[in-house]
C-alpha cells in the first residue's frame, strides 16, 4: 500500500509538468495585454510598452517558460503582475473561504444525497422515488447563480435569517463562519446533490437485486440493516467515484458561487486574474487546482479499499 501511494505521488510530477506547459502556452497564445490593463485608458502606447518591458512580457516564450518552471521547482509561484504580492501569499489569503465552502458543500451534499438516493431506491416506483428524481432533475437544470439569487432573496432579503454576502473567518467564530456559508453551500450543492442522489439510486437498485440481499432478508435482517449495512456498502465504490469526479464540479461552481455571494475565495481570484491577464496568478491557481484534483483522485482510490476489501494495491 505504501509503495502504491509513493508511486501515485511521484506520478503527479509528470502530470503537473504537462499541466504547467499547457497552461503557460495557452496563456501565452491568448489575446489580451496586462500592460494595457495596468496602464489604463489615459496611458500612451509608449507607456504601455515600457510597462510590458518592465514586467518581462517582451521576452521570448522559451525564456519566460524556463524562468517560470525554474521558480516552480523551487516552490516559487512568482509574483502577481498587478498586486506585486507573491502568488503564494494571494492563494493563502483566499484558500480558506474556498476550502470552507467546498468542504461544507461536500458534507451537506453527501449527507442529503446519499439518504435520498437510498430512499428512492428502496421506494422505487412510488411517489417518493419520483419526487426524489424530480428534485435531482431540478438540481441539474437550474444554474447555480439562479439558485443563489433566489436563496439570497428569500432567506436574506425577505426573511433576514442569513446574510446576503461575505465571509467570516473561522477564527472569528464558528457560527458567523457558518452563517455566511449556509446559502452558498446550498446553492453550490444543488448540482452535486442531484448527481450523487441519482448515482446512489442507480447503484443501490443494482445491489438490491442481488442474491445476497435476498439471503439477508431471508435470514431476518431488518430493512435498515439491509439498506445501510449490506447494500450501501456494496454500492459505495461507484458513489465514491462520482463524489471524487464531482469535486471538479465544485471547483467550477465555486467560481460562480463566490461571485454571487461575494466570498473572497480562489474562484474569484482566478476570474479576476483571467480578466486582467495576471499570468502568474492564473498559472499558480491552475497548478494548485490540478494538484488538489490529483490528490483527491488518490484519496478516492485509497477509499475503495475501505469499502471493498477485495481491492488491494
Amino acid at each position: 500500500m505504501t509503495a502504491y501511494i509513493i508511486r501515485r505521488v511521484l506520478a503527479t510530477i509528470p502530470v503537473m509538468a504537462i499541466v504547467a506547459f499547457f497552461v503557460f502556452s495557452l496563456l501565452y497564445l491568448a489575446p489580451g495585454d496586462p500592460a494595457a490593463v495596468i496602464a489604463g485608458d489615459q496611458a500612451t502606447p509608449q507607456d504601455v510598452e515600457r510597462i510590458r518591458e518592465s514586467l518581462g512580457l517582451d521576452r521570448p516564450f522559451v525564456v519566460r517558460f524556463g524562468s517560470w518552471l525554474w521558480d516552480i521547482i523551487h516552490g516559487d509561484l512568482g509574483v502577481s503582475i498587478f498586486t506585486n504580492l507573491p502568488v503564494t501569499t494571494m492563494i493563502a489569503q483566499r484558500i480558506e473561504p474556498t476550502l470552507s465552502l467546498m468542504i461544507l458543500t461536500l458534507i451537506l451534499a453527501i449527507s442529503i444525497a446519499v439518504p435520498m438516493g437510498v430512499l428512492a431506491a428502496w421506494k422505487q416506483g412510488t411517489w417518493i422515488d419520483r419526487a426524489v428524481m424530480g428534485f435531482a432533475v431540478l438540481g441539474f437544470s437550474v444554474p447555480v447563480f439562479v439558485v443563489g439569487y433566489l436563496l439570497a432573496y428569500v432567506f436574506a432579503l425577505e426573511l433576514d435569517w442569513l446574510p446576503v454576502q461575505g465571509y467570516t473567518a473561522l477564527k472569528n467564530g464558528f457560527f458567523p463562519w457558518l452563517e455566511n456559508l449556509v446559502l452558498p453551500a446550498i446553492a453550490l450543492g444543488g448540482v452535486y446533490i442531484a448527481l450523487i442522489a441519482r448515482i446512489t439510486r442507480a447503484t443501490m437498485l443494482e445491489v438490491l437485486s442481488q442474491d445476497y440481499i435476498r439471503t439477508a432478508r431471508a435470514k431476518g435482517a431488518g430493512q435498515r440493516s439491509i439498506l445501510f449495512v449490506h447494500a450501501l456498502k456494496n454500492a459505495a465504490v461507484p458513489i465514491v467515484t462520482v463524489i471524487g469526479i464531482g469535486i471538479a464540479l465544485l471547483i467550477g461552481g465555486a467560481v460562480v458561487t463566490e461571485s454571487v455571494f461575494a466570498i473572497p475565495g480562489l474562484g474569484r481570484l482566478t476570474v479576476d486574474a483571467i480578466l486582467r491577464r495576471d499570468y502568474p496568478v492564473i498559472q499558480g491557481v491552475v497548478l494548485l487546482f490540478s494538484f488538489i484534483y490529483v490528490l483527491v483522485n488518490l484519496a478516492i482510490d485509497l477509499l475503495y479499499t475501505l469499502f471493498d476489501p477485495r481491492i488491494r494495491y
Binding site: 489575446p31 489580451g32 495585454d33 496586462p34 494595457a36 490593463v37 495596468i38 496602464a39 489604463g40 485608458d41 489615459q42 496611458a43 500612451t44 502606447p45 507607456d47 504601455v48 515600457r50 510597462i51 518592465s54 502577481s80 498587478f82 498586486t83 506585486n84 504580492l85 489569503q93 483566499r94 439569487y149 439570497a152 432573496y153 436574506a156 432579503l157 426573511l159 433576514d160 435569517w161 442569513l162 446574510p163 446576503v164 454576502q165 461575505g166 467570516t168 477564527k171 472569528n172 467564530g173 464558528f174 457560527f175 458567523p176 452563517e179 461571485s259 454571487v260 455571494f261 461575494a262 473572497p264 474569484r268 481570484l269 476570474v271 479576476d272 480578466l275 486582467r276 491577464r277 495576471d278
Partner: protein, 533 residues
Amino acid sequence: MNRRTLLQAGAGFGASLLLPPLAAPALSQGAAARTLRFVPQANLANFDPIWGTQYVVRNAAILVWDTLYGFDDTLTPRRQMVESEETSSDGLTWTFRLRPGLKWHDGTPVRAQDCVASLARWSSRDSMGLMLKAIQKELVAVDDRTFRWVLSKPYPKMLMALGKNSTPMAFMMPERIARTDPFQQINEYVGSGPMRFVRNEWVPGAKAVFERFADYQPRQEPGNWLAGGKRMLVDRIEWTIMPDPATASAALQNGEVDWWENPITDLVPQLRRNRNVRVDIADPLGNIGAFRMNYLTAPFNNLKARQAVMAALNQEDYMRALVGDDNNLWKKLGGFFTPGTPLYTEQGGDVLRRGPQMDLAKRLLAESGYKGEPVPCIVAQDQPITKAQGDVTADLLKRIGFNVDFVATDWGTVGQRRAMKNPVGQGGWSMFHTWHAGADTINPAVYIAIRGNGERAWFGWPDVPPVESAIAEWFDAPNLEAEKTAIGKLNAAAVENVLYVPTGFFLTYQAWRANVSGIVKGPFPVPWGVSKA
C-alpha cells in the same frame, strides 16, 4: 429582535448544550457607527496611483495620499498641502511653501524633498507632468518646507496640473517611496492623507481597509471635493469588492454595506422602493460615450466614410441603450467637452445633435469609394457601457451599408488589439467603443483622447492638424475668453474631421443607507464629511 437574531439564539442555545463556548465577533454598536462599509466601482487589485491609472486606484489613493492642490466643485485648484506659492514676474520660477505640521503616517514630517521626489515620479507619467518636465530647468528643495520649480518657458496651468483629479494625480509620498521607478509599483503605502492604509487586512480583489490618521491636519476651510478641510467623521472605512451588482444591491438593502458607488440603472427602481436606501446622481461631471475609428486603415482612413457614420448617428439610441428610460440620466452632446463646465461648446456640432440623416450617410459612404470591405468592430462584452454601445453601432453601420465584422471579446483583449496598427485582416481593427469620465474631458490638458497628432495620438491615431493648432492656442491663451475661442475652433475641427464620435452624455447613480449622511456628488466618492448614525 429580528428572526435572524432569534435563530442565532436558538442555534446557540442548542449548540451550547453540546459544544463548549466558541468565540464570536463582538462589534459594538459604537464601533459599527464609526465604520463605513463601501462598495467601490471596481476591483482594487493594486495600490500605486502613479503606476496604475485606473479610477478605482485614484479613489482609494485620495484617502491615503494628499496633494499640493486640489480641485473644488468649480474645478478651481485650491491650496491643500501648500501654504503659499509665488511665481516670478517672468512666470518661469514657481516657489511653493508647505503648511507646517504635516506628517506622514509613519510619524515623520513631510519635507519639501519628499515633494520634489514625488513630483519627479508623477511628471514621468502624467501628460501635464511630461509637459512640465520637458521645460524644467530645476526642481529642488530650498529648505524643509519650501521647494522651487524653475522652467524654461511659462506654464500658466501649473496649479491645474498639480490639483487636477484626472489620473494620475500628483500625490505626495515620502522620498524613499517616490524614488521608485515610475514604471514599477511601490511597495509601501505611506501617505499624509486623512486615512492610513491597513495593509495587513488588504485582500486584493476582495477587501481593503483604511483607518483614520489621528495626526492628520485638515485645512480650516470646509471640505469641497479635493479642496478644503478633509475631516473624517468615521474611524474606519472598509472597501468590499462585490463583482455582482445584484448582490451589492441586496447587501445595501439588508444593511450589510453602507454606500455603493455605482449601482446599475436596472436596479435603481428597486433601491428607491426601499425606505432605508437613498439614491442620487453620483458625479455631476458625468461621462461621454464614444467610439473611435481607425484613421490608418480602410474604410475610415477616408473622411467621407467617417462622416457617413456621424451623419447617421442618433445619440438617443446610444443613451437609451446605456441608461434606459430615465431621462434624468442623459442628454445629447454637440461637442467633445463636459457639459456644464466653462469650456463646453457646441460650435460646429449641429450634426451631432440633429439626429440621423440616413440618406446623407449613404451618399457619403458611396462617395468615399467603399467597396464592402469588412469593418472589424471590437466590442468588449464584459463592460456594460461598451457592450450597449457596440450593439447600437453594429446596427447603425449595417443600415448605412457597411459590412460589419462584429468582434465580441473582453476588455483586456480590446486593450491589446486597439494598440495594433496592422491592416484589417492581419489582426487590425476599424472601430472600438469606450467612454470618458467627465473629469477627464474638461480641457485639452487632461484629455488625451482629443489629440489629433497622428501616430502619437490615442488609439485610432487621428491626424487632424487644426485640432492640434487649437490645442496649442488654448495652452497659450491668456484668459478664459481666449481659451473658449480656442476650444470653439477645436470642437468644430474635431466634428468636421470626425476625430472620434461622442455618443452622448450620461450620468450614473450612487446609493447609500438612510443612516449615512454627508454624501455629496463628485467625480469620485468624497469620504470626508460622511458620518453614520
